[in-house]
């Protein structure tokens, strides 16, 4: 990867452009998009994104399993924020947080689906048990979800086989940590409560997710979701 990869080389069907468009309501993401498209080349984290987005066959079965685990968590987060914003109960910085973070989580979903291709699991159905229609419940739940996301990526990273997949996971991992610190700050909780974040295993994470009862149905046959259903 000594030379910049051009967007067109890795994004023949435009999925990355779509992802960037999807997050364009975040001004900084918009800036990133412009700078990438302006130069015609993508570097750094975006190069990872490109490298990973093209050859799904380069992944091992183990990596596919890990990415599908991550995709399921990202589906959950994306749906949570999208629904909360659309329910209209959020105000002030909490609303700004939900908008920005929701755009990020949707970008993570798009990215993971693109990377997995036909191996991508579908989106489950969700019921957020009232946490998307009440600001206080939303804030508490967002904090748990983001801290959980950090622990999940931390637990999986050392299990990943492929460099490009690992690099991509790391570029998402730290963003989840930023989200966690942000909502903690909003909540008046310590944004960085310990000097070392603890990882959790896939089993631990899945048990925690099951405990929320947010997932109410198995994934559909394909990942192509329709319009979101609002569950409150």
């Amino acid at each position: 990867m000594s030379e910049p990869i051009t967007l067109d080389q890795v994004d023949s069907d435009g999925a990355i452009r779509e992802t960037m468009d999807a997050v364009a309501d975040d001004s900084r993401a918009g800036f990133l998009k412009k700078s990438m498209l302006a130069t015609g080349g993508i570097v750094g984290g975006a190069a990872i994104l490109g490298a990973m987005a093209s050859p799904a066959h380069a992944q091992t079965a183990n990596d596919v399993s890990i990415l599908n685990f991550a995709l399921t968590l990202e589906y959950l987060e994306a749906e949570f924020y999208t629904e909360a914003v659309n329910m209209g109960a959020l105000r002030g910085e909490v609303l700004a947080f939900a908008r920005v973070v929701g755009a990020h989580e949707r970008a993570h979903v798009s990215f993971l689906r693109k990377a997995l291709g036909s191996a991508a699991v579908g989106k489950p159905s969700f019921n957020f048990q009232g946490t998307t229609e009440n600001q206080a419940k939303f804030k508490a739940t967002a904090q748990v979800l983001e801290d959980t996301g950090v622990m999940a990526y931390a637990g999986q990273a050392p299990l990943i086989d492929t460099d490009a997949v690992l690099a991509a996971a790391l570029s998402v991992h730290s963003v989840e940590a930023r989200h966690a610190a942000w909502i903690r700050h909003i909540n008046g909780a310590p944004p960085a409560p310990t000097a070392f974040d603890k990882p959790k295993t896939k089993d631990q994470i899945l048990a925690a997710v099951a405990g929320t009862q947010f997932i109410t149905g198995a994934p559909a046959m394909t990942a192509a979701g329709g319009s979101p259903s609002f569950t409150g």
């Binding site: 190069a47 790391l170 570029s171 730290s174 940590a177 966690a180 700050h185």
Partner: protein
């Protein structure tokens, strides 16, 4: 937690070279050269020539030592920055107190992991970035964002035990970055994907600060 990380991971070549060379060259000079060297970077006695951004050399015990010493240098810098900061008020003061304690713990952890292979701390001059609150805040944002990019860039270059330990630190650096960004009304999470930077990119950025004196 990562306390059990032992670098058993012994780099015999490096150990022997260091033993041969003795201490004729101080660690500080060593590091100074590391940071100020142009094209070819030396850190911890290992030459890292012409690293292209984000190329991943196969992880190895000797590369772990190199990467951990790179991380240790950044943590020394952060720890000294927060420890020296004064004249801070309000939440910024609390931020510096909490984050400074974290960075000192990261230093202690990395030194323990590296044992005799640990580089010494350089000396620093942070100028008015540690005496003026606005300058402190702006610098903290850059340092923490840089820390995230640095750890993310090294992740694919280290062995799995080191990766696990680094993973428990990088997310804390990201939390610090988001916290100070929120304090100064910058977007705590400006992108959906954090951008990694290579060791040479990070060291060029550190060199440009002029913070490292020797």
């Amino acid at each position: 937690m990562p306390n059990h990380l032992t670098l058993e991971i012994v780099d015999e070549d490096l150990a022997m070279r260091e033993a041969r060379e003795g201490t004729s060259e101080s660690r500080a000079n060593f590091l100074k050269k590391a940071v100020f060297a142009g094209g070819t970077l030396t850190l911890g006695g290992i030459a890292i020539g012409g690293l292209p951004a984000l190329s991943f050399a196969q992880p190895s015990p000797s590369q772990d030592v190199q990467v951990l010493n790179f991380a240790l240098t950044l943590e020394y810098l952060e720890a000294a920055f927060y420890t020296q900061a004064r004249n801070l008020t309000g939440e910024t003061r609390e931020f510096a107190r909490v984050v400074g304690a974290h960075e000192r713990q990261h230093v202690a952890f990395l030194k323990k992991a590296l044992g005799a292979k640990a580089v010494k701390s350089p000396t620093f001059d942070f100028g008015n970035t540690v005496t003026n609150q606005a300058r402190f805040q702006a610098t903290a944002v850059v340092l923490e964002d840089t820390g995230v990019a640095a750890y993310n860039g090294q992740g694919p270059r280290v062995t799995k035990p080191v990766l696990a330990a680094a993973g428990s630190i990088v997310s804390v650096e990201a939390r610090h970055a988001a916290w100070i960004r929120d304090i100064v009304n910058q977007n705590p999470a400006p992108k959906a994907f954090d951008q990694a930077q290579s060791m040479s990119q990070i060291l060029a950025a550190v060199r440009a600060t002029g913070f490292i004196q020797g």
